[in-house]
Symmetry: C2
């Protein structure tokens, strides 16, 4: 028999709580309460709140990277349509909880990415990983003359990435997906060859 608690479960609770409430608005006690773990155990697993947040980001970043790779590997549509379908799915996921969270990594970036090097570079690292996945799909689309060759795959990936987070952030105050849907239409009209 293993021990009662494991890091992964606690990290998943952290993901949920941080995503919805931000970093500085969340106390360790809230994490403890929602995961049922005692404080002593928490500090046995994690050095500090900062260390915990970093590991939360890391786990989600890696999980999401795998998830994205799988999605594009399994996608039978054309590269351009796969990308569009990917963002469409992301939007649907965010609609499910009424845009109450957005993307943890983006939220953390905006809230503390500039002040906190640990969190900032962890977030950036995973962004880069995701962007490379996107860029590889963009490149396939370019090779099929489906996507514009006026810009590099990474440039186009960064463009989509930023645009998506821009409209996703916008939902935090509009609380509807109208301009997210229009963004999707516009972007994929713009980038096609």
């Amino acid at each position: 028999m293993g021990y009662k608690y494991n890091k992964e479960d606690i990290l998943n609770v952290g993901y949920d709580v941080f995503r919805r409430n931000g970093y500085h608005n969340v106390g360790i006690n809230q994490i403890l309460k929602e995961s049922g773990i005692p404080k002593g155990s928490f500090y046995n697993f994690f050095e500090s709140k900062e260390d915990f947040a970093q590991q939360v980001i890391r786990q989600y970043g890696e999980t999401n990277n795998c998830w994205m790779k799988d999605f594009f590997e399994d996608c039978t549509l054309s590269p351009l349509e796969c990308l569009k379908s990917f963002y469409s799915m992301m939007m649907n996921l965010n609609e499910e909880d009424e845009y109450s969270g957005g993307c943890l990594v983006n939220n953390m970036s905006v809230e503390i990415g500039r002040q906190n090097d640990i969190i900032g570079s962890e977030a950036n690292h995973h962004f880069i990983g995701w962007l490379n996945v996107l860029a590889s799909v963009v490149e396939k689309g370019q090779n099929l003359n489906e996507i514009t060759k006026d810009f590099s795959p990474l440039e186009l990936a960064e463009y989509m990435h930023a645009g998506f987070y821009g409209v996703l952030s916008r939902t935090k105050v509009t609380r509807n997906r109208v301009y997210m849907d229009i963004w999707l239409e516009m972007t994929f009209k713009f980038i096609q060859a």
Copy 2:
């Protein structure tokens, strides 16, 4: 002789501090210290931290709205070039402080816009004001056949707005303007007629 302190000065300090540090990471004491105002005076002027933050957003939102209107009124370039020049200037402003703050209203939106109705709707209100200013310039560009008519002025405004905040947020962790510059190039290539 008036009194020693006035609301506007305190709000300006709040703007600075909140923009760089976020909302929950800032205590009232920090505002008091940096503005030199005593605590008693603060709670004489403002009901609460939340009320203060709302007024900070309001003042900046209105100031920025005027500033944008003036910019576009004074701009002698074509509508499309005025818009491009506007975003270029915004980027330069953010480069000056090494992307340490970004946009207060966007930061607040992302951090607490979804949890806090007061802040969220205040932020949204000013976003809408700015978007209308942008949209009016877009419309002029469309009338001059300079900007695509495939989308409405407001849709294009929302698109630029979101994209800009997306790349601006990205600088929080990349700490350079590379993809911001590319975004500008791409966006204005895409939206032209």
